[in-house]
Symmetry: C2
């Protein structure tokens, strides 16, 4: 049986991508995962496509030194802005969160209206709607940026919190009036607010977690390429951040749903030195 | 009469510092102002002191090319983290927002309790309390991070908005119970939420706008050094940003209270090339 014990590399602007890691660890417990959170430059969601693409390219250069078998762009903003460009130059396969979420939304909508909530940058990129229309050119898509959801999730406000519920109603009720039957959580922070979101949109609307769909897509890809790790020992999660390892560890536990043991702070000299070698 | 027609340089992590510029333009209408907003790396308020200091130093290198007569650190997080370090190496005078706000708070408190609200990084640095205790070693200071105020102000939610009011009550009511007689708005975004804040804390609490106090301190410094610009023509505001000039222009108008005409997007190559020359 084929075996590939190289790591799965995952990156995000900060901690949100850990919701994707959580799904990967749950489904592929013996894979090693290398995670990079760009916490010195977080968030990406309010930045331009050009800048986000530059950040993502630099991060991929950093991650390539670990010889990964796949790079998972576990950030909707970076997937929307940079994935096509990255795919052109990366020497390993890569997968983003937009396409798996979009595909599942099309399957579940059965012709109904699909609502997408995400950061400003993801919505402005129109990436979800474009991906959905590649799967179904008649797809009807409505999209709304929800900028306060990220800081609310980072503050650790639970779904039952009064502020969380007030903000969820404020953002989502105008969407509900258009009667969607699917809602895509197009930001890796949003699954932490899943209950609040579900309560506002009601049982009739299927919630799609793009991160969960991405974990499935990674498994499908590795299976197809016979690149799963068949080790019988538990995989290891190694985290690198560009700033504030303490904050990453504290907040990250909520996103990962378990303790984060191994976090290393990468100085800019280190981060860029790798990039310069690789691009030289 | 002495005259110094060089610019006043002002910087912030993003748009918040424009509330300081607004005060400067109001009080010194014939001064030229060069503003830099580090919108590619905004916000600073959740980042480590080391990283914020690096960002601030790089920005100062960029601004020195304009031969300013003073550099105003119009960002509480950067003032708290980096100002002492910057002062050691900068070849021109510099002024931050923490000390002017702290001084005014001491004067107004007359021995009562002083509450400070700011970003996580500013509160963690303890810079306001330390500055206040330099002016009055018996000062009683309580401090609270209010992370949602920045994205709420950036979303353009007015003070009357239901979410703004709910968040203001959530953050501030526990402070009000400790009966402060002064509240320092220790983040340049917060003056946009002044009415909501005032409504929750009530008439008995004096609100200090650190940005306004900083503008006064700049005038005092330039007057003392005979470095005011005596031109009779209106001064010019020139803005540079590291990302997203369009978003800066749109949001910035609310912070500046007038139209922003002149915004230039600085590429990283340009930003760093200046720094490398200066530090070489």
């Amino acid at each position: 049986m084929a075996n590939d014990n190289r790591s799965i590399a995952v990156f995000d602007s900060g901690i949100g991508g850990l919701t994707v890691v959580r799904e990967l660890m749950h489904r592929l417990p013996n894979e090693d995962i290398v995670y990079f959170g760009d916490t010195a430059r977080v968030p990406y969601g309010i930045k331009s496509s050009e800048t986000v693409t530059r950040f993502a390219r630099e991060t991929c250069e950093f991650l390539l030194q670990f010889d990964p078998k796949i790079i998972v762009v576990a950030c909707n903003t970076a997937s929307a802005a940079a994935l096509p460009t990255l795919k052109e130059t990366l020497p390993v396969p890569s997968i983003g969160v937009v396409e798996p979420g979009a595909r599942e939304a099309i399957l579940r909508a059965r012709g109904g209206t699909i609502a997408v909530i995400a950061t400003e940058a993801t919505i402005n990129s129109d990436a979800y709607r474009r991906a959905m229309r590649r799967f179904d050119e008649g797809a009807r898509v409505i999209q709304k940026p929800c900028p306060l959801f990220v800081p609310i999730a980072e503050e650790g406000r639970a779904s039952g919190d009064a502020i969380t519920m007030a903000v969820a109603r404020d953002y989502l009720e105008p969407l509900v009036r258009l009667d969607p039957n699917v809602l895509v959580m197009g930001c890796t922070h949003y699954p932490l607010l899943r209950e609040a979101i579900a309560q506002v949109v009601g049982d009739g609307v299927a919630l799609i977690d793009s991160g969960e769909q991405t974990a499935r897509a990674v498994i499908a890809d590795l299976t197809e390429r016979s690149a799963l790790n068949n080790a019988e020992t538990a995989g290891r999660l190694t985290c690198y951040v560009s700033d504030n390892p303490q904050r990453f560890r504290e907040l990250g536990q909520r996103f990962l749903n378990k303790t984060i043991v191994d976090v290393t702070w990468i100085s800019p000299e280190q981060f860029y030195s790798v990039g310069h070698v690789k691009t030289a």
